[in-house]
C-alpha cells in the first residue's frame, strides 16, 4: 500500500540521527520557551531562522516545527502553577488549572495536560497523515461568509466561559471586540484609535494583551498574598487522577482534539481560538457546568488537547496548499522556501522525503515530549516552594524581555503596562479577562469577514442564508443562544440564579 511506503519513508527520514537530534533540540527548546511566560515560539523560531540557512532543509524544518508544537506542551505549565499563561493559547487553562494547583493537585493537572497534549497531538497527526489533502480542500470551501458565521458561533459559545455575573462577562466580550478594532481598518485603510501614532497602526498585539491582562495583573495581585499548598513529596501517586476524572478523560480529550483539529485546519483562526472554544464546549456538555472554574480536570484536558491538535493540523494548509494560517506557520513556510522547497500540491511529488519525514517527525517529537515532560512535573511542582518574592522579579523580567523581543519595540512594554493596570482593575471589580481575550480575537475576524462577504455579494444580506454552510452554522448559533437563554431563565426560576 502506498501509505505504508510513505510512512516507512517518513520514519526512515525522521529517525535519521541528524533529524532526530534536531527534533529533540526543537521540542526541548519549545517546551522550555513555552513554560516561560512572555517568550513565545514565534520569537524562538524567528531567531532560529538564520540558523536554518545552514542546515539541511528537512532537519531545519523538523527543528522549527518542534519548537512550535513543543511550546504548546509547555504553555500550560505556567498557567497551572502561576496562573499565568506561557502562551496565549494556554490562557484558558488558567481557569481550572490554577485552582487545581491551589488545592495541592498541581501534579495531577500537569500529568493530565501532558497526556491530553499527547492525545491531541496524535489525533492531529493522524488527520494529517490520512486525510490531510482532503481536509485542505474542505478548507477552501470556507469563504468569507462561512468564516463570519463560524466566528459568530465561536462568540456565542464563548459567552459561557466566564463564571461570574453574565452581564460582566458580556461586557468583557464586547470590550474585547472594541479593543480588536484598534489599528488600520482592512477594508478602508482608515487608522482607528491610533491617535496619530504609527505604533498602534497594526492594532494591539495579542501576546501583549494576554501577558498584560493575565501575567502582569496576576503578579500585582499575588505579591505578598498567595500561599500555595505544596505537597511534601511529588510521587507518581500524587499525579494520578481520581477515578471519575480518568473515566471522563478520553471523551474530553477527543472532543478537545476534534475541535482543535478543525480550527487548526482553517487558516487564520489559530490555537487560542481552538482552546477557548473547546473549553466553552466542554462546559456546555458537562453535567456540572458550575464546577468549571473551581478546578475540574475537564477544564484543562479539553483545551490542551485542542491546542496541541490544532498545532499539528495547522500544517495541513501550510504544507498541502502553501497557505500559512498564522505568523508562525509563515516562518516555517519561509524556512522551506529558503531551500527551494515550495510547499503546496507539488511538494508531495517533488520532496516526498521532506513531506513524510516532517509528519513522522511530529510523532517522534510528540513521543519525546511525553518522555521529557512527565519527569519534569516533579521539578515544576517543586518550583511552587520557591518563595514568591524571589520568583516574581524573574517572571517579570522574562515577560518584559519576551514582549520587547516581539518587535524590538519598547512601546510594546509600555502597552503591556497599560493592560497590566487595566487587568488588575478588572480583577478588583470582578471582571474576568478570559471573555475579553476571546472577544479580542474574534472581533476583527467577524468584522473583516462580514464586510468582505457583503462586498462580495455587493450588499446582499441573502448570502448569509443562501449558502448552505453559512446558513447551517448561523442557525446553530441562534439555537445555542436560545438554549442558553432558556436554561438561564430556568435556573433563575429554580432559584439557583
Amino acid at each position: 500500500m502506498d501509505l505504508l511506503a510513505n510512512i516507512s519513508l517518513g520514519l526512515e527520514t525522521a529517525l535519521h540521527p541528524t533529524n532526530l537530534m534536531f527534533c529533540f533540540f526543537g521540542v526541548f527548546l519549545g517546551t522550555f520557551i513555552g513554560v516561560l511566560p512572555g517568550i513565545g515560539s514565534i520569537t524562538a523560531i524567528s531567531m532560529l531562522m538564520p540558523l536554518s540557512f545552514y542546515l539541511d532543509p528537512t532537519a531545519a524544518v523538523v527543528m522549527l516545527a518542534g519548537v512550535y508544537y513543543g511550546a504548546e506542551y509547555g504553555g500550560s505549565t505556567a498557567s497551572i502553577l502561576l496562573n499565568m499563561p506561557g502562551t496565549p493559547s494556554s490562557a484558558v487553562t488558567c481557569l481550572d488549572g490554577h485552582p487545581l494547583a491551589k488545592q495541592g493537585r498541581a501534579g495531577v493537572a500537569l500529568f493530565m495536560t501532558t497526556i491530553a497534549s499527547f492525545a491531541g497531538g496524535s489525533f492531529g497527526i493522524l488527520l494529517l497523515l490520512f486525510v490531510g489533502p482532503a481536509l485542505a480542500s474542505v478548507t477552501l470551501s470556507f469563504g468569507p461568509a462561512e468564516y463570519f458565521a463560524l466566528m459568530v458561533l465561536g462568540l456565542v459559545a464563548a459567552a459561557a466561559i466566564g463564571n461570574d455575573a453574565p452581564a460582566k462577562g458580556m461586557a468583557m466580550v464586547v470590550f474585547g471586540l472594541l479593543l480588536g478594532t484598534f489599528g488600520a481598518d482592512v477594508n478602508s485603510g482608515v487608522a482607528r484609535f491610533t491617535f496619530g501614532s504609527l505604533y498602534l497602526y497594526d492594532g494591539i498585539n495579542l501576546v501583549v494583551l494576554a501577558m498584560g491582562l493575565f501575567g502582569v495583573a496576576e503578579i500585582i495581585a499575588s505579591i505578598g498574598a498567595s500561599k500555595h499548598e505544596v505537597p511534601d513529596k511529588v510521587t507518581f501517586r500524587s499525579m494520578v487522577p481520581r477515578r471519575d476524572e480518568a473515566r471522563g478523560f478520553p471523551f474530553q480529550a477527543l472532543r478537545g482534539a476534534s475541535i482543535g483539529s478543525f480550527f487548526g485546519t482553517l487558516p487564520g483562526t489559530g490555537l487560542t481560538m481552538a482552546s477557548f472554544v473547546s473549553y466553552a464546549v466542554e462546559k456546555r456538555v458537562s453535567r456540572n457546568p458550575s464546577a468549571f472554574g473551581t478546578g475540574v480536570t475537564a477544564g484543562v484536558v479539553a483545551p490542551e488537547a485542542a491546542n496541541n491538535a490544532a498545532a499539528q493540523t495547522a500544517f495541513i494548509p501550510t504544507l498541502t496548499l502553501g497557505v500559512p494560517g498564522s505568523a508562525t506557520m509563515a516562518l516555517i513556510l519561509g524556512a522551506l522556501l529558503i531551500h527551494g522547497i515550495i510547499p503546496g500540491p507539488a511538494m508531495l511529488a517533488n520532496h516526498p522525503d521532506t513531506f513524510w519525514g516532517l509528519i513522522m517527525s511530529f510523532w517522534v517529537g510528540n513521543l519525546l515530549l511525553l518522555i521529557l515532560n512527565i519527569p519534569l512535573i516533579g521539578l515544576w511542582v517543586r518550583l511552587l516552594r520557591v518563595p514568591y518574592h524571589y520568583l516574581y522579579p524573574i517572571i517579570l523580567s522574562l515577560v518584559f524581555l519576551g514582549v520587547y523581543s516581539l518587535n524590538n519595540n519598547v512601546y510594546d512594554v509600555g502597552m503591556l503596562l497599560v493592560f497590566g493596570a487595566i487587568g488588575y482593575g478588572m480583577r478588583l471589580g470582578g471582571f474576568s479577562p478570559a471573555p475579553l481575550l476571546i472577544g479580542f480575537i474574534l472581533g476583527p475576524m467577524i468584522e473583516e469577514n462580514f464586510r468582505r462577504a457583503m462586498m462580495l455579494s455587493r450588499g446582499d444580506f441573502g448570502m448569509l442564508v443562501s449558502r448552505p454552510i453559512t446558513g447551517a452554522i448561523l442557525a446553530l448559533s441562534v439555537l445555542l443562544l436560545v438554549w442558553m437563554l432558556v436554561s438561564a431563565m430556568a435556573r433563575r426560576r429554580a432559584g439557583v440564579s
Partner: protein, 337 residues
C-alpha cells in the same frame, strides 16, 4: 556597544559587583561612544533594519544580502526585524538613529514610494534617506482562477470589459503595491473590477485558490507554484522583460498594457547626513555582495532575484516611482488614513 559581562573578582561583596558592573556601563558610555570615525568604519557590527517580520520574502532577501555584506566588508551585518505600519516603523527608526552608518535600512519599493501619498502622519521624508544601491527586484504576476474563461491577458481584458464591476480582485491591503498596481492596470486597460482587500498575501491565497476572488497579483513565490499545478492561471508579468524562470508568461506590455513596469524591489538606505566615506564604503560593499558567487547561489535556491542598481540609478527610480504612485493614487481615488 557590545561589551562582555564581567562579574568582578571573588573577594568583592555582591553589592560591589553590581556597583562595578554599573561603573563599567558608565565607562562604556563615556568613552565608547565617540570612537566611531569614518576611516575605521565599520569597526563594530552593523544593524540592517528589516521593515517586515521574519520569514517572509523580504526577510529572506535581506538575510541573503546581509550575509554578502558581512563578507564584503569584513564585519557582521545583523538583520533586525522592526515590523509595523507597512514598514514605516523601521523607516522612522532609521532616520532617527545616529548618522554613523551603523543602522542601514533595507528599503522596500512600495513603502518608499507610496507611503507619503497614503499616510499623513509620517515622521520621515524621502530626503532623509540616501540610497546605497538596489539589490533585488522581482516582477509581479497577474493570475486568474481557472474558472475565468481567458487564456491570455487580452482575452481577460475583453472578458472584464464585457462584465464590468463583476470580477473581484484581491490585494494584501489598502494602499499595498498590488492594490496600486491593479488600480493602475484598471486605468490603463480600461476595465472595471471590484477590489477586495485582505490582511496580507497569506490571508488572500485561500480565497484566490477557491475562486472567491477571480484575480490575484503577487510575487513569483505565491503565484508560480499554483500556476504550475493549474490552481491559478498566470496571464502576465510586470516589468520590462519576461521573468526568467517562467519564459512562457508574456509581459503586460507584450499584451498591450503599456507602462506597468513597476517591480517589487529591495535596496539599502542610510540617513542622508551620513559621512560620505561611510556611504561610499557601504555602497561598494553592496556592489561586491551582489557579485559574490555564494550570495548568487544562495539567492538562486531561495528564489530571490538579485539585480543591482547603482545609488544614482536607484535614486532616479525612487523619484519616478514616488511621482507615479501619487498619480495613480489620486486618479484611482485611493484613500487611507
Amino acid at each position: 556597544m557590545k561589551t562582555q559581562y564581567h562579574q568582578g573578582s571573588r573577594d568583592m561583596t555582591r553589592r560591589r559587583a553590581i556597583v562595578a558592573a554599573s561603573a563599567m556601563t558608565l565607562a562604556v558610555t563615556a568613552f565608547g561612544g565617540t570612537a566611531a570615525t569614518a576611516q575605521s568604519y565599520p569597526e563594530k557590527p552593523v544593524t540592517m533594519v528589516m521593515p517586515f517580520s521574519a520569514g517572509g520574502t523580504a526577510d529572506t532577501t535581506g538575510r541573503v544580502i546581509a550575509e554578502g555584506m558581512s563578507r564584503a566588508l569584513g564585519q557582521q551585518f545583523v538583520v533586525e526585524n522592526r515590523p509595523g505600519a507597512t514598514g514605516n516603523i523601521s523607516y522612522t527608526s532609521v532616520v532617527n538613529a545616529p548618522a554613523d552608518g551603523y543602522e542601514v535600512l533595507i528599503g522596500y519599493s512600495a513603502t518608499t514610494a507610496c507611503s507619503h501619498a497614503l499616510m499623513s502622519n509620517l515622521q520621515w521624508e524621502i530626503e532623509d534617506l540616501k540610497p546605497l544601491g538596489m539589490f533585488s527586484a522581482s516582477p509581479m504576476l497577474l493570475a486568474v482562477h481557472p474558472s475565468v474563461p481567458a487564456e491570455s491577458l487580452s482575452e481577460f481584458i475583453e472578458y472584464a470589459r464585457a462584465n464590468p464591476g463583476k470580477i473581484n480582485y484581491g490585494s494584501p491591503g489598502i494602499g499595498s503595491l498590488v492594490h496600486i498596481m491593479m488600480e493602475s492596470f484598471k486605468l490603463k486597460a480600461g476595465v472595471d473590477m471590484f477590489h477586495i482587500p485582505y490582511k496580507g498575501t497569506g490571508a488572500l491565497m485561500p480565497d484566490a485558490l477557491s475562486g472567491v476572488i477571480q484575480v490575484a497579483m503577487s510575487g513569483p513565490a505565491a503565484i508560480v507554484p499554483n500556476h504550475e499545478s493549474g490552481k491559478l492561471r498566470a496571464l502576465a508579468v510586470t516589468g520590462t522583460e519576461r521573468y526568467a524562470p517562467t519564459p512562457d508568461i508574456p509581459t503586460m506590455a507584450e499584451e498591450g498594457v503599456e507602462g506597468l513596469d513597476t517591480e517589487s524591489w529591495y535596496g539599502l538606505f542610510v540617513r542622508s547626513d551620513t559621512p560620505q566615506e561611510i556611504v561610499d564604503t557601504l555602497a561598494a560593499g553592496l556592489k561586491t555582495a551582489t557579485e559574490d558567487p555564494q550570495v548568487l547561489e544562495r539567492a538562486e535556491t531561495a528564489g530571490v532575484p538579485i539585480r543591482y542598481l547603482t545609488p544614482a540609478e536607484m535614486g532616479e527610480r525612487v523619484q519616478k516611482e514616488v511621482a507615479d504612485c501619487r498619480e495613480t493614487i489620486e486618479k484611482a481615488g485611493i484613500t487611507a488614513q
